[in-house]
Each structure stands twice: as structure tokens, then as C-alpha cells.
């Protein structure tokens, strides 16, 4: 229970279904530093606790700050230092919510963990679990859960995944939950809006000025501040070329302090290579029998799905070839893969090399 409306309603639905005695609320203390909602996010924890009180269930706060720092924050900072842009929400789901919290829940005697994510879990007749997009296309969060596998899905529940956000808020209002009108959270939870990504990273790693290089001609176009903060595909601050068209980042080389920029076409690519590959259902991947398969790729939380072909290469990585050229995927970003036969069903994920 983050103290937001989705997990509040998720808890309420669970209590309705299972009864008070079989549900406890848990809030994770993840970040020890300052955040937009105050130190230790006390206000959010209070909202979560008061909702739990109202539902008549016990509420615990678990302190996972050490793991969060080791698994999410430090890799985020270290990634930027070498020109990668990891998605901290995905790493938090991978290592904290669907691993550390699962272990804690199991040791306390619980069978499953429910979250307020907008996604659905379905189970086939032969007991295989599927991860399906949330019913509200604008709020779908299957992308940030795409790294879940059978073992985790077996113990996961997403009670609000079948509802639209409007329905979630209606339900919260109907139940009189204090979080009914609370705004959705935005951005990265450990970065304050007043400091931004640059301020946060600037406090934690040395930022270096670099040079802008024309992707086509190799010409030095001038200085660029803080190459660590520049992302592949970025348009902002890159200006226009002599042809009057916008320029995009095509490559960031942090060690060489070089940022290459080019035309929109130059910033596109036909494919991407993925490491840290996961499958929702290992046994059901078409790749287990065929050398390649078709899929649908989604390259950001609310990115447009695009048809692709997926092939396992010699290094064990996945080569994804898009049906048409796409804006380059920044190294470190997650690509979620969906099933062409059932475009709402996640089949797996990987991280762009």
C-alpha cells in the first residue's frame, strides 16, 4: 500500500473477497532520503495506515531501504555514469516488490501479494499464468511488470487491473477512502521535483562536459554539458541542423565525453539487442522450438507497440528486429514483448544493450 488510490482500492477489494482476517496491509519504506512527499514519505504511510484502519486490517511498514539503495538507486546512478538509463521502477518491481516483499510475506505466512498495479493475471486451464494489460489502456502498467515469471505470478494478484482508473476512483469514493482524490504519483519516487534528475545525479556522481558530434559528418558542433544526463533518442537541447530539421541524440559515449546527434532518421534503428531476458512462461516461448518468432515490442511505459521479430543470438541475448524503424532505444531501457496472437498478453522482457 503506497498510500495511493490504486493500492487502497486493491486492499478494499481483497478485504471484500477474503475477509479482514486474511489480509494485512504493508507499506514499504524504500527511500531514506528526502522526497516530494517528505522524509520517509510519512504522509503516504499515514494515508496507507488510515485506509488499512478503515478497512479493519492490520498494517505494517517494512524497512527495505538498504536493498532499495543497493538494487535500485545505486545501479541507477552507476548506469548513468556509463551512459545507461535504467528504469528504476522495473528494478524495484524485480528486486523489491516481487522478491524481497514476497520473501517477507511468505515468512509471515501469506500465500500471495496483491498490488495496485493496472495489469491482469489470468490462469489457463492447465495452470499456466498469463500477464495481461490492465483494462484501462491509458493506465496499463504491464510494461513495468513484464519481467515477472510464473513463480512470481502464481503469488501475485492485481485486483484493480480489471478496472479503469475512473472506476477505481469511483470505488474509492463509494467506500469513502481518504485517498479517493489523491493525484497519481509521477516520475521517479526518490527524485524530488525541485532537484530533478540532474540535481539528484549531480549530487552522486561527477558530471562531465562533452562535445556534440554530427553523426553524418563527424564534425564537432560544440560543447554539451553533463554527458551523463544525455539520453539516446533525446531531442531537447539538441537544436536544429543546417537543413532546418530537429536533431536527436544517436549515441552517447560517456568515457569519450562524446554525444553524437543526427536527423530523425539517423536517430532511428531497425532493431535492438536485449540482455537480462525474462519470459512470463519459459516453457511456452515459441523460441524454445523455432529459431525466431514474431512479437510486439513496447519500449517505454506508454510507448506505442510495434511489430517485431525476435531471435536468440549466439551470446544468449535476444535480437529484436522491428517491422519499421523506431527511435533508438537507450541502453538500459526495458523492452516488453507481447504476443501477436493476443496483443494484451506479455510474453517477456529484456534490457537494451
Amino acid at each position: 500500500m503506497s498510500g495511493g488510490v490504486d493500492s487502497s482500492v486493491a486492499a478494499a477489494l481483497l478485504v471484500e473477497e477474503l475477509g479482514r482476517d486474511r489480509v494485512v496491509g504493508a507499506t514499504l519504506k524504500l527511500w531514506g532520503g528526502s522526497s516530494d512527499s517528505g522524509c520517509c514519505s510519512v504522509a503516504d504511510v499515514e494515508d496507507a495506515r488510515r485506509v488499512a484502519d478503515q478497512l479493519g486490517v492490520v498494517h505494517h511498514v517494512f524497512n527495505f531501504t538498504a536493498e532499495f539503495e543497493a538494487r535500485v538507486v545505486n545501479p541507477y546512478v552507476e548506469g548513468h555514469a556509463i551512459g545507461r538509463t535504467p528504469n528504476p521502477c522495473i528494478e524495484c518491481n524485480r528486486y523489491l516488490k516481487f522478491d524481497r516483499l514476497f520473501d517477507r510475506a511468505r515468512s509471515l505466512g501469506f500465500d500471495a501479494v496483491a498490488t495496485g498495479h493496472h495489469a491482469r493475471r489470468t490462469t489457463t486451464e492447465d495452470g499456466r499464468h498469463q500477464l495481461i494489460r490492465g483494462a484501462d489502456p491509458l493506465k496499463d502498467q504491464s510494461y513495468v511488470l513484464a519481467m515477472l515469471g510464473q513463480e512470481q505470478l502464481a503469488r501475485s494478484q492485481f485486483p484493480v487491473g480489471r478496472m479503469t482508473k475512473a472506476e477505481v476512483r469511483q470505488e474509492a469514493a463509494r467506500l469513502g477512502l481518504r485517498t479517493a482524490l489523491k493525484p497519481d504519483s509521477q516520475d521517479v519516487c526518490f527524485i524530488r521535483s525541485d532537484e530533478g534528475r540532474g540535481g539528484f545525479l549531480g549530487d552522486r556522481l561527477p558530471l562531465h562536459d562533452g562535445r556534440l558530434i554530427d553523426d553524418a559528418t563527424g564534425e564537432d558542433l560544440g560543447p554539451v554539458p553533463a554527458v551523463e544526463l544525455v539520453t539516446v533518442g533525446q531531442r531537447r537541447g539538441m537544436g536544429h541542423g543546417s537543413d532546418g530539421r530537429r536533431r536527436y541524440v544517436t549515441e552517447v559515449d560517456v568515457p569519450a565525453r562524446r554525444v553524437r546527434i543526427g536527423t530523425p532518421e539517423a536517430a532511428n534503428a531497425l532493431g535492438v539487442e536485449l540482455h537480462t531476458v525474462t519470459w512470463v512462461d519459459d516453457d511456452r516461448t515459441q523460441l524454445s522450438e523455432a529459431p525466431e518468432c514474431s512479437a510486439i515490442a513496447q519500449c517505454s511505459a506508454h510507448g506505442r507497440p510495434v511489430a517485431c521479430t525476435v531471435r536468440r543470438n549466439q551470446t544468449g541475448r535476444l535480437s529484436v528486429t522491428f517491422a519499421s524503424a523506431q527511435r533508438r532505444i537507450a541502453p538500459g531501457q526495458t523492452v516488453a514483448l507481447y504476443d501477436p496472437a493476443n496483443p494484451d498478453a506479455v510474453i517477456g522482457s529484456g534490457i537494451a544493450a
Binding site: K29, C39, S107
Partner: protein, 387 residues
């Protein structure tokens, strides 16, 4: 069956204390503001003065040395912030450093850290050894002649070890003659004879709810001649040292609780020591991979602190609670999350050990049945968490 083994966090109120405060809550002719001048006020003031005299006597202080506060934490804040404010920064400009132990309660630690901010007093945090005692060599090193304030707790709140305050006092008086010596005696008052402690310090904090009084009342003993500035300003109550309308019912109940605590102390100490020793000895014998934190012979009777290898105390307190045992996993932050014990870290334990400690704390209402219940429950909980 529930066994409440968290008396170091707060104690159930003693019946004497409840009885003492009820007439004031009901307003039976004595509901006045102790600062007024009519009959109702005079009665309230009389009650406060009687309570002050009684508490002063039990603590080994003079009547005028007792300042009532809203909590033990407030008493610590008044002691540290108030004493530092009362001594002007020397003409040279630089304020002298503060010394405290690294295992102080956060009421002291965070107040010292706040006072030691940039351009102000520096703070020297002195560590502890594995037995749970302040490092006296480190203390001697920290106590330079320019030190303004030293704060050393009388009894550690997590481990229960009684600190060598007499040695600390001698050391401070010799090496830092200008320093004010404060002790947080919140965990000492339920168990130890207080006058000998009061005798060797300048400032001493106590809290009513640790010895059967109500929550929301504390006191700071300010020895005569020790300058202190108010931290809370207003109507000038408590001889201008702490403003705010007196909590008459709470103050009266605090006196009743302390009085009963002192009267029964010998019996309580014997009985609770027996209960605590049985609990700890049996757990050490029956649960493999269990270690006791600190030197038991140096602890107050109510405290037991155990570390269970491979167990996360944050999960353990939840399962203990489910099984009917109320215990503590160390300090909680404002969000309610359990922090790794800074006390164990100060004693030189690693993070894992500091996150595997459980405090069972007993008090006057603890019984054999409580201990039996804990002995029934703890081994199974540990086994389950290790599984």
C-alpha cells in the same frame, strides 16, 4: 494469551497513578489552572507543588530543581538546547564541542546533532564496547577542556546496561571542567536508586510513563547553579524555564507512580530479575544460534536483548505479535519502519546483527505466565523464520 514484554517502550499505568489523576480529570473542585489566583487555581498549584516536592525527594533533588515537561524527549531537548543557549559563545567566536555516546536515545542524539550544526558546536560521539558500556578511553579522549556539554545516558534503552556515570562524571569534572553534564535517566528511574545518580550530574531527564505514570509527562532536574535557558517560551511557568499550562493530573500521577515504584523497588527488582533470567537462560538453551547482547550482570532487571542468527527482527516482531507476544525490534522511525539498531552498531556489531536483535522488556506487571508464553512461542517463531 498475550504477554506484554515491551515495558521499556511504555508501561501500563499503576493503579495508584490512575487513582491520583482521576479527581483532576473529573474536575472535582480542583480543575483550575495552576497559574491562576482563585481557589481552583490554588488547589491545582498546591497539587503541582506537592508532586514536585515528592518527586524531588525521590530523585535526590531540591524542590526548585525539578522542571516539569511534556515528555522525556522534551526534558532532553531542554537540557541540551537550554544549557548550550545559557552559556554564551566565547569571545573567540567558536562554540565548544558537545560530547555524547553513540548509543544515546534519539531524543539526545538528534538534539545534539541539531545543536552541532555548521558554524556551531561540533559533536563527538563516543562508541561503546561489546558488553554495552560506553568506551571510557574514548570518553577521556573526547573530553577536552573546551567541551561545553556532555550527555551520557544512565541506562541504555535497548540493551539495558547501566552506564558508569560516576566514572564519567569524575572524568568530565577533571578533563572538561566547564562542561555541563546531562544524563538521560529515563530507563534508570524504574529500576535504580536515583539520588546517587542525581548527585553526580548537572541535568537529569525522566519520563513518567516508563514507571507506571501517564504518557505526556516528564521532568528535568536542573541542579542549583546550572544555568539554563527556556526552549519553550510563553507564560513563564516553571520559573521561566518551561512555559505552558501545567498538566496537573499528569504531574500528580507521575508523583504517585514514582512513589509506588520506589516503595516497591526492592521486591520488584528481585522478582523481575528472576523472571528475566529465566526467560533469557531458557531461550539461550532452547534456541540454537541465539546470543545475548551486552553484559547481563550490568543490566537493569527488566531488560533482555537477544540476537537470533539469520532472523530479521522486523519480521520477527510481526510473528511474535501474531502469536501473542509484544516485543520490540529497536527504534522505529516516524513512518513506523524499523531502523537497524544504532545502539548495536555503536557497540561494533555489523548491520546484519544489528537487524536481528529483539528486546524483551519486563516490568512490574510481568508474570511467570508471560515468561512461559514467550518461552512457548519464541522457538517456533525463530524456526519458522529460519526455514
Amino acid at each position: 494469551m498475550r504477554a506484554y514484554l515491551d515495558h521499556a517502550a511504555t508501561t501500563p499505568m499503576r493503579p495508584e497513578a490512575v487513582e491520583a489523576m482521576l479527581p483532576f480529570l473529573r474536575g472535582e473542585g480542583i480543575s483550575g489552572n495552576a497559574s491562576g489566583s482563585h481557589r481552583e487555581s490554588r488547589r491545582a498549584r498546591l497539587a503541582v507543588d506537592d508532586a514536585r516536592e515528592q518527586i524531588a525527594g525521590l530523585l535526590g533533588a531540591d524542590l526548585g530543581e525539578v522542571v516539569f515537561t511534556g515528555s522525556g524527549t522534551e526534558a532532553d531537548n531542554l537540557a541540551i538546547t537550554g544549557a548550550l543557549r545559557a552559556v554564551p559563545v566565547s569571545a573567540g567566536g567558536r562554540a565548544g564541542p558537545i560530547v555524547c555516546t553513540a548509543m544515546e536515545h534519539h531524543a539526545v542524539l538528534n538534539t545534539c546533532r541539531a545543536a552541532a550544526g555548521p558554524g556551531s558546536h561540533g559533536l563527538r560521539e563516543v562508541g561503546a564496547d561489546r558488553s554495552g558500556m560506553v568506551d571510557l578511553d574514548g570518553m577521556a579522549e573526547a573530553c577536552t577542556p573546551d567541551v561545553r556539554l556532555v550527555s551520557v545516558m544512565a541506562v541504555n534503552n535497548e540493551i539495558g546496561t547501566v552506564q558508569p556515570l560516576h566514572d564519567v562524571s569524575r572524568l568530565v569534572r577533571t578533563l572538561s571542567p566547564d562542561a555541563v553534564l546531562h544524563t538521560d535517566a529515563v530507563q534508570a528511574a524504574p529500576w535504580l536508586e536515583m539520588p546517587p545518580i542525581t548527585a553526580v550530574v548537572d541535568l537529569l531527564s525522566v519520563s513518567a510513563h516508563k514507571f507506571g505514570g501517564p504518557q505526556g509527562v516528564g521532568a528535568l532536574v536542573v541542579r542549583n547553579g546550572v544555568p539554563i535557558e527556556a526552549v519553550i517560551h510563553g507564560g513563564g511557568q516553571e520559573r521561566e524555564r518551561r512555559s505552558g499550562t501545567h498538566n496537573v493530573a499528569g504531574i500528580v500521577a507521575m508523583a504517585a507512580a514514582l512513589s509506588a515504584t520506589v516503595a516497591e523497588r526492592t521486591d520488584t527488582v528481585t522478582r523481575v530479575t528472576g523472571l528475566r533470567d529465566r526467560l533469557v537462560d531458557r531461550l539461550l538453551a532452547s534456541v540454537a544460534g541465539t546470543a545475548e547482547t551486552g553484559d547481563r550482570s550490568a543490566k537493569v532487571p527488566g531488560h533482555a536483548h537477544l540476537r537470533f542468527d539469520g532472523v530479521e527482527s522486523e519480521a520477527m516482531v510481526v510473528l511474535l505479535d501474531d502469536a501473542g507476544v509484544a516485543a520490540s525490534a529497536g527504534a522505529a522511525c516516524s513512518s513506523g519502519a524499523v531502523e537497524p539498531s544504532h545502539v548495536l552498531l555503536a557497540m561494533g556489531f555489523g548491520k546484519e546483527a544489528a537487524g536481528s536483535g529483539i528486546r524483551f522488556s519486563l516490568g512490574t506487571t510481568s508474570t511467570d505466565a508471560d515468561v512461559d508464553h514467550a518461552l512457548d512461542v519464541v522457538p517456533a517463531v525463530v524456526a519458522r523464520l529460519r526455514n
